[in-house]
């Protein structure tokens, strides 16, 4: 139950700000240098692993992938004695939106656009690169009924999709004690009103063009309310924030929703892992939420490893970290796997990508090497 909650007092950068033509990006997207990498094991992302696979990319886009992919003459070929996979994707992030991520003065901020709050070269964002995270969904923090529109951003470079989700808190997280709504029935009534006569973003959500990010809250009943709400209005999108999704797997599948698994912590970890296993059994697409800077970026792979320890297949875990997450975020055409035509977001590992014991040797975003593990001899360290 919620007594007086501590509220963020920082104001949000309002949408009325002059639209910034192109988001400030450190790496100028587009003309990255041409490169080819051969790795002992190349994880395509759909479960297949190519022994000694080669990936070739030019101008930030992958052109060739394969065991005997032809390397154009004159192009540099890097030999990597380890694994290579697509960059990891986190589904609910606050890094880089320092203090801008929710506005508690009004319950509904449907037009607020998190893309404007994203500062790519903030130190919090750099921390993600060291953990192999190349793309993430920048979402508002819980606290308001409708927090705004989430953006999908490349770590350290530009926003690649400005309207990834409409963030909604149907559970107790959306309540505060000194403005409407202060009760669950109040918030449900308001959402019912907004979605029964939808305008603007609500109309696009009801039409299915704009997926929603539903923070269902912690108790199973609140998660039930979120699922039945989504079904009632035919909404697509993902459920976040609850550690008790395991028992609801069947309902979630029936509603056609995806899930973002919360971080593994010693006290709630057991239910998070059970939930992930139940979801994977019911073939519910799920990715991993991260929520740095409060959650350390290493939590992404740690949570995946905890699920593997409990029985999840490593290939399913990698798929959830990469391709499934890209599908859920609606950017599967740009990132999420090592395939021709996609962005050259690649990570070189010293071992299995889903083993937290493997080191991140190098990270490429849009073909540019943005991180290299510092070692005395350069390149591979075995």
């Amino acid at each position: 139950m919620r007594t007086q909650r501590s509220m963020h007092t920082k104001a949000l950068l309002l949408a009325s700000l002059a639209f910034v033509a192109s988001t400030p990006a450190s790496a100028t997207s587009g003309e990255g240098d041409a490169l080819a990498i051969r790795a002992e094991k190349l994880h395509v992302g759909d479960g297949t692993v190519i022994e000694n696979g080669i990936v070739v990319f030019e101008a930030g886009v992958i052109t060739e992938v394969g065991k005997a992919a032809p390397v154009p003459k004159g192009m540099v070929l890097i030999e990597h004695a380890g694994h290579l996979s697509a960059g990891l994707i986190a589904l609910r992030e606050h890094a880089g939106a320092v203090g801008e991520s929710n506005d508690t003065t009004r319950a509904v901020m449907d037009e607020a656009d998190l893309a404007f709050a994203y500062r790519p070269n903030h130190s919090e964002v750099q921390g993600l690169l060291e953990e192999g995270i190349t793309t993430f969904v920048l979402a508002p923090r819980p606290g308001s009924l409708v927090g705004g529109l989430c953006a999908v951003a490349k770590t350290g470079s530009e926003v690649i999709s400005r309207r990834a989700y409409l963030s909604i808190c149907t559970g107790a997280n959306g309540l505060t004690s000194n403005r409407f709504p202060t009760s669950l029935q109040g918030s449900q009534a308001e959402l019912e009103r907004r979605f029964s006569w939808p305008r603007g973003v609500f109309a696009r959500a009801v039409k299915g063009e704009l997926p929603v990010m539903l923070d269902g809250g912690s108790s199973r009943t609140e998660v039930q309310h979120a699922i039945s709400f989504a079904r009632r209005h035919g909404l697509k999108g993902i459920l976040v924030g609850s550690t008790r999704l395991g028992e609801m797997a069947a309902k979630i599948r029936a509603a056609g929703l995806g899930v973002a698994i919360s971080n593994y912590t010693p006290s709630t970890g057991r239910r998070v892992v059970e939930g992930a296993l139940a979801l994977s059994e019911m073939q519910v697409p799920f990715g991993f939420a991260l929520g740095s800077p409060n959650g350390h970026p290493a939590n992404l792979r740690l949570t995946a490893a905890a699920c593997i320890r409990a029985g999840l297949k490593p290939s399913d875990a990698l798929r959830s970290l990469t391709s499934t997450a890209a599908q859920l975020a609606g950017v599967a055409d740009k990132v999420g796997s090592v395939q021709v035509g996609l962005a050259a977001d690649l990570v070189l590992w010293s071992g299995e990508p889903t083993d937290p014991g493997s080191r991140v040797m190098a990270v490429y975003v849009d073909g540019d090497e943005v991180f290299r593990a510092e070692d005395d001899e350069n390149g591979d360290d075995q």
Partner: protein, 464 residues
């Protein structure tokens, strides 16, 4: 004169014959009711005797909870229970845990150097918490009262095996003394001024402990000398008694003649040495100063560490252990020179971490190990059952895999004087071991069997 037996004097008087860990305080086989024929054989494709030393296709024989034989082609004696598996290694140990402790005792700020962790151990905790740690492969946990107080008192090493009473849980009664410098408690960071004086106060307490042991040793010596001189004096008086009696009669006679008052001879002897004042806290610090017990100091900032190392340099036999050590790289050379181990907390701490952990980096364990520092991994009370999983994070950020396994087994045993009992799979050791279906510390590896003192506690069909 009856010497209170808890004082240090009795130990010193008796001399260092019975070292603490050899005395039966350490109940190795006491936990499992060993019948003579309690024979278990464990066969594995790869047997990690100790990190880095692996035997292929080896067998290990356990009798009455103790490993008796390890070798390649040992045939299994009939009547022994045979367990087979891919990989066998020693049980993991959490050198900085709280499993088994009463919650309030771990955050108690009123503890002092003499507070015993045993008084805070709760044997009635729900068994589910213990089974969860066993299932993760953790077979022993070092626990401490007052984990964030200035003086945590005397810690203990507990076994995670289920036991019906307190004695059954204890592996080692007095494993260490503890102190905390610059730690935040219940969320609020420590007062800056308190931090400055804390190091001097700790060094002062160790010094007081040393002087305490000296005064007691001196008292013991003086007492012995005094007893000897008194014994000699008595013997001499005994011998000269006849003469003394004759002289005395003569004097009485003379006095009567001159009818003067007869005055007895005044007998003088030097006074008996005074019993020094008893102080339980100084007694603990004396054992620390004499190196009998390691001193685990929970400390994070480089400035305080430098101050601590400088202040404790003069105690030659002090065995210091750093817990936390977020900025320990700055003093890595001194730590290597004085062979001071560091217990690192490998947890991924986000922005809402306690103040003293600011600057915490998952690569700390790897960098310290590369600099030659003895590294241990501990959960700092954050759940021992997750320690093996968190250890993989340390490996993923630069800690060598064998050093990580050592940090959970042999290094812990070595730091707390348990090398003869735990940490490796050699004859004479307590049979705490894990049977895995893959290399240790991999997420894909599952723990199939867990044995504590030869008793099979976790097996594939008993997984709950």
């Amino acid at each position: 004169m009856h010497l209170p037996e808890t004082t240090l004097a009795s130990v010193l008087l008796v001399g260092a014959t019975s070292g603490l860990f050899a005395s039966p305080a350490f109940s190795s086989a006491a936990t499992s009711p060993p019948t003579q024929g309690d024979l278990v054989a464990v066969r594995a494709h790869k047997l990690h005797v100790s990190p880095g030393k692996v035997l292929e296709d080896a067998t290990l024989l356990i009798r009455a909870g103790v490993i008796v034989q390890v070798g390649n082609d040992l045939e299994v004696p009939e009547g022994a229970r045979l367990i087979e598996g891919d990989v066998v290694c020693a049980g993991f140990m959490d050198p900085w845990g709280s499993l088994g402790m009463n919650a309030a005792a771990t955050v108690d700020m009123a503890t002092n150097a003499a507070t015993s962790a045993i008084d805070g151990v709760d044997p009635y905790l729900h068994p589910w918490y213990r089974n969860r740690a066993l299932a993760a492969g953790v077979t022993a946990v070092r626990v401490q009262a007052g984990m964030v107080s200035a003086r945590g008192g005397v810690g203990a090493m507990l076994s995670t095996a289920p036991a019906d009473d307190l004695e059954g849980m204890i592996l080692l009664k007095d494993s260490n003394a503890a102190a905390g410098l610059g730690l935040s408690s219940r969320g609020n960071p420590p007062d800056v001024f308190a931090r400055i004086s804390a190091v001097d106060k700790l060094v002062g307490d160790i010094n007081k402990g040393r002087e305490y042991s000296i005064t007691w040793a001196k008292y013991a010596h003086d007492l012995e000398a005094w007893n000897k001189t008194i014994a000699e004096a008595e013997a001499k008086l005994e011998k000269d008694f006849k003469k003394a009696k004759k002289d005395r009669d003569k004097e009485i006679a003379e006095a009567k003649e001159k009818d003067k008052e007869f005055k007895e001879e005044k007998y003088k002897e030097d006074k008996r040495p005074k019993l020094p004042k008893l102080d339980a806290e100084d007694a603990v610090m004396a054992r620390v100063a004499s190196g009998e017990m390691p001193l685990v100091v929970t400390i994070h900032r480089a400035a305080e560490m430098r101050e601590l190392l400088k202040g404790t340099a003069k105690f030659k036999r002090l065995r210091l252990v750093i817990a936390g050590g977020t900025e320990a790289e700055a003093v890595a050379d001194q730590l290597v020179a004085r062979s001071i181990p560091v217990i690192v907390r490998p947890a991924p701490l986000g922005a809402n971490r306690p103040d003293e952990y600011s600057g915490h980096n998952l690569a700390l364990a790897g960098r310290l190990a590369d600099a030659g520092v003895r590294v241990l991994l501990g959960s700092s009370g954050g759940g021992s059952s997750d320690l093996p999983l968190l250890a993989t994070l340390a490996i993923g950020h630069g800690l060598d895999r064998d050093k990580a396994l050592a940090a959970l087994t042999t290094e812990v045993a070595r730091t707390f004087d348990l090398s003869g009992e735990l940490g490796s799979l050699r004859p004479g050791r307590r049979a705490d071991l894990l049977v895995l279906d893959g290399e240790p510390l991999l997420p894909t590896t599952t723990v199939r069997y867990v044995l504590c003192a030869g008793r099979v506690l976790i097996s594939p069909d008993s997984r709950d």
